[in-house]
Amino acid sequence: MRVVVAGFLLAALATAQSYTPPKTPWGDPDLQGVWPGNMGVPMQRPANFGERATLTEDEFAKKQEQAKRQASADAESTAASDSKAGIGPPSYWVERGKPTKQASLIVDPPDGRLPPLTPEAQKYRKEAKLPGAWGGKADSPADLNIYYRCITRGLLGSIIPVVYNNGNQILQAPGYVVFRNEMIHESRVIPLDGRPHAGSDIRLYMGDSRGHWEGSTLVVETTNFTDKDAIGSNGAGYPGDPGYHSDQMKIVEKFTRTGPKTLEYRATVIDPKTWTKPWTMLIQLDRNDDYQIIEYACHEGNYAMTDILSGARAGEQK
């Protein structure tokens, strides 16, 4: 039995490591390309799954059936027919993703759910006046979350797929890797020369990243975060929680090519002020050479902000 288990583990390890990516002309593993995100995997696993990280054949078939129905509904409707959709886009804009068997983005802890909050973080979530989403208080822009304000979705939020514009691009130059996200437009330049982090008074929404190679895996450690944004697909939290982290958060990302067109992205969040344990997200990315990243001028076209605020003021005058 032990031999079987060991063999299984080896096989699991081998799948992640057996592929040797091509090299850039200057000798680094070549991760370059456009790797768009794929919608449809929930961040946290439904509790009834327990430690089961993948869907059964039955569950997967159902998910595929659902996707088919959704696709035909999307094709029929040309505009959001649901009045509650409000400022949302027409359904044919919305990316639904290709169904996969992954049960949750969070893969550690093994139950696929966020570890408990520290008492300090629980207190903060209860007492702090945290910005909400559209539909809540709108006295000033600061009442809205930073995605509505088109500031950023933060480092992790920028790679968690959302409704559209999920392009991610990796570019490399000697001594640097750049991770570029289409939504809101981020270009995180990651130096590979082992230099120390920026001074601790320098706080950044996207953090201060330093990378190095472990075999063919790019490992990136990021610190110097602000505590003004939250982890979640919209930079404003995940379902059921505002997702706020502290400025002491450290994120360790691992980018591993597992095949000519597949890349495994893992991010471990270490923030002892917020979560009682580190936790890890896994996002599987497929390269798409036909995908063209288009400039997403979020703030420049943020008519929603004017409408939400002026609407709230008009409402007060009634």
Binding site: P25, R149, P174, V189, R195, I293, E295, T306, E316
Partner: protein, 265 residues
């Protein structure tokens, strides 16, 4: 003696273009000049592309901090050949610059302005395409070095097709939406802009930047800007964040905030 001094100057004076041709830039593996680095302009072009004396800023409350330093222009011949109605619009832009300059609103700077704002930018030259990453407003543009493509849509930073002419990177920029200004003095173009940029290293730490700007809807002829752009030579130079949206919210939305008597658009 005077003759001697003159010939000394002739021998050693360095005309930028000639100097540039003498310098052999380091190579990438593919043989092209390696332009990778962090750069920043040191001039007053972002205040005013043309020759100008020092003048007061649009906010007296800021005193000398918001005043404009004097500067020699970067426009060849110092004239921007506006058609009469465009010249009038430029004048109006200048008068209303405090509220109307897209830089004040933290909008993407467009081309060419992104290259001479007082913020660093990084050229990321891969073995294929070239990415320009600007610290200001996290703006960026990918220069396609493959088969030239048509602009899929008008954008702030344009559709950028690049090719090499010797050691000079030539970027053809179209598909600009024309909403960005060229400086804080209100110089502008429209969505008909066509800009051809030329970038080459004149020595290890200096880029020679030239841009030819055409837009038949507002100019009577093409015109040209040129300037050196300097490498940030600090060992630990890196781009930080200037995510300025939050600094512009009061300017943009202040009248709609509670207690401001807003509600009207």
């Amino acid at each position: 003696m005077r003759v001697l001094i003159r010939s000394f100057i002739l021998v050693f004076a360095c005309i930028p273009l000639v100097c540039g041709q003498g310098y052999k830039a380091p190579r990438m593996a593919d043989g092209h000049a390696n332009l990778n680095g962090i750069y920043e302009a040191v001039n007053t072009a972002n205040w005013n592309l043309q020759d100008h004396p020092a003048y007061a800023g649009p906010m007296w409350e800021m005193g000398a901090i918001a005043a404009v330093p004097a500067g020699k222009g970067v426009v060849e011949g110092n004239e921007i050949p506006y058609k009469p109605e465009a010249a009038a619009k430029k004048k109006a832009n200048f008068a209303n610059r405090r509220a109307d300059d897209p830089e004040a609103k933290c909008y993407m700077p467009g081309i060419p302005r992104a290259n001479y704002m007082p913020y660093p930018f990084q050229i990321v030259q891969t073995n294929k395409d070239i990415l320009f990453v600007y610290e200001y407003a996290s703006s960026n543009r990918l220069v396609n070095m493959g088969k030239p493509m048509e602009a899929p849509s008008d954008t702030w930073m344009g559709t950028n097709n690049g090719h090499w002419e010797g050691d000079t990177l030539v970027i053809d920029v179209t598909g600009l939406n024309g909403l960005a200004w060229f400086d804080r003095a209100g110089n502008f173009g429209t969505d008909k802009l066509h800009i051809v940029e030329r970038w080459n290293l004149t020595d290890h730490d200096h880029l020679n930047y030239q841009a030819t700007i055409e837009d038949p809807s507002v100019y009577t002829r093409a015109w040209k800007i040129s300037m050196p752009i300097y490498r940030r030579v600090e060992k630990d130079a890196q781009l930080l964040e200037f995510k300025c949206t939050e600094f512009a919210e009061q300017l943009l939305y202040g009248k709609y905030t509670k207690g401001a008597g807003g509600g009207q658009k």
